[in-house]
Every structure is written in C-alpha cells, then in structure tokens.
Subunit: 196 residues, 2 copies
C-alpha cells in the first residue's frame, strides 16, 4: 500500500508540483480514501518531502560517483553523458521537478533536508579540470564554466522538453531518439571544444 501511495504521489507531484497537487488527486490515483493518505503520511508536506528526496536520490548519487571517480577527464565526460542521459531518459520529468521546487522554496529549506550522498558535489571534478588546464592538455577554460556547460547540455533538453517538442514538432519517439544520439554527440562536442 505504502508503495502504491508513493507511486501515485510521485506521479501527481511531478505532474503538478507541490502547490498544484491535490491530496484528493493522489488518493484517487492510488485508488484509496483521502484519509488513508494521512494515515500513512501525516500531511502533504511530509509526503512531498519523501517524494522530493526520492527524486534527488535518483538524480545525484551516481553523478557524484562519476565526478569523483579515478578516470581521465575525457573518459569521465563520456561516462557522465552516457550514464546521466540514461538516468534522465528513464525519468524525464525529474530534473524539472527538482529544479522547480528548489526554485520555489524560500531560503531553500529543502537543502537542509537533503542528504550528503544525494547533494550534488562537483568539487573533485572541478579540481581535475583545473589540473588539466594547468598541465596544458586542454584549452584555458574556467572549470566552473565547463561544468555548467556539461550540465546544461545534458539536463536542459529535458527541462525544455515540452517547448522543444512543440516548436520542433517532434513526437515522443523522435525526441527519445534525439536524446539517445546526444549520448555520443555531447561528449564529442565538448571534447572538440576544449581539446588543444
């Protein structure tokens, strides 16, 4: 039952956001009485936090692993794109959900709830880039800028999915195919951009 509720809550929260989601919607989606929701999860806030943390736990831990792995920079970039695009492709709406709620939360109290493992932590990656720049193996680009570029190229298409599909007239399958292609395109793009 608890799992059933969480599934329903995930669907509704992700579709409508914290403010737009109705407890009744979640109950309906789970096929249960609204009171039963409060039996398992005391209130909307609590339920939402569970879903948010679940989302964060799907998105970030693997990223952090890759960022701090012991790999050459280029391989790391390739691995990141390959794996991260896979993760997001399986949960295309998670990035928007997380970013949006982060955006809406005053003084981001969500961050306080956040566990370390699932909090994004790019410090190792930044250090590695700096080393490569100093060694002269890549162009002189700010590590911060490069990190932002990497994240932008992988995440943004999913955040903008509705707009991209709308303005470019892509159906679901064309969109997926395009994202699949990006697993190879993005690393190539980035590496071409920074290789000396």
């Amino acid at each position: 039952m608890e799992a059933q509720i969480l599934g329903a809550a995930k669907k509704i929260f992700i579709a409508k956001g914290m403010a737009g989601a109705r407890m009744q919607d979640i109950a309906d989606e789970a096929g249960i009485n609204k009171a039963l929701l409060h039996y398992y999860f005391n209130n909307k806030e609590k339920l939402f936090q569970v879903i948010f943390l679940e989302a964060a736990n799907k998105l970030f831990p693997r990223v952090n692993e890759i960022f701090s792995a012991d790999l050459p920079l280029f391989d790391k970039i390739r691995l990141f794109c390959e794996e991260y695009l896979t993760i997001i492709s399986e949960n295309p709406y998670l990035p928007m959900f997380v970013l949006n709620e982060l955006h809406r939360n005053p003084s981001n109290f969500l961050v306080k709830i956040w566990k370390d493992k699932s909090r994004p932590n790019p410090s190792a990656f930044l250090a590695q880039m700096e080393t490569e720049v100093r060694k002269g193996t890549i162009r002189n680009i700010g590590p911060l800028q490069l990190l932002i570029n990497l994240l932008s190229l992988t995440i943004f298409p999913f955040v903008a999915k509705p707009m991209i599909q709308q303005t470019l007239g892509l159906d679901e399958w064309q969109f997926r195919a395009t994202m699949e292609q990006r697993k190879k395109e993005i690393p190539e793009f980035i590496i071409n951009a920074i290789r000396k």
Copy 2:
C-alpha cells in the same frame, strides 16, 4: 493602476507559479483590494495569460529576429549569445517561469494563445546550419543537436540558478559575473566545437 497590478502579478506569478500564486498576494503586493483585481482582470486565468504573454514577448521576438537575420553562422551565434544573455540576465526568472507553465499545461493550450512573433521559430537557423554542414565549413553535426546545444548553454544556467548558487556557493554577484563571462565563453566554446 493597471500597470501597478501587472507589476505585482508578474512578481507573484513568477515567484510562485500559476498554481501557487494567490490573488490576495497579488492584491497585497499591488497595495489594493482583492475586488479591484477582478475589476481590471476578470479572473486569475485571464490575469495569468496576460503575464505569460508578456513574458513570452520579452523572451522570443528578438531571438527570432536574430535567428532569421542575414549573417554568417559564427556571427549569428556570437550575436545570439551576447544579446540573449543580456535579455535573460535582466529577467533571470522568466525562462523557468515559461518552461514551467508550458510543462504543466495539459495539451499546451498556452501555445494556442501564443502570437506568431513571440513563438520560437528556429527554421531559418536550422536551414543555415544545414547549408554550412553541406558546404563543409563546419563539422558534420546535426543542426537540431547544435540548436539544442546553443539553447541549453545559454538558458540552462538561469533555470538552474538556485541549484548552481547553492552547490557552488556563489553569491548574487558571482553568479552575475559568471553569466557575463558566458557571453564570450559560449560562442568560443561552440565555435571551437564545430570549426573544422
């Protein structure tokens, strides 16, 4: 008065989204009675649409102009980054607002409201890229992918602003400086990536 209301509505809608915004909040922000809101704008939906269109009109028309301008590809990319980052920097929360509401709207009825001038229209840009690839002046990259890359690199940092600031520990000024830097960094990055 009408302008005062619109200002308040813009602030509240952008901060909390359609679902999270309260008519009372908007009235308070505008320093007026709630009934006066309904005097000027019949209902929440109507008021929201005005704000949404205003936002879209700030974000897209100039982009379309640049996309369809008569300029060499590289210049176009430089111009786009320069101007678009300026526009967004002045309205850092607009992209999130538009993308979010687009995301939440079932069967995107918003798109129907949307005027042509302010609807994103990259077809000329896509064609130009295709030409350049065929002429062999740039690497063989899919025009669609390149367009997505360009948009990702410019827009995403603002959508992810809270997360970026949080995880990288940037204050407001550091963030702005980083974005300012990107006006030069992004075109350089892209051109390096595609130049043969």
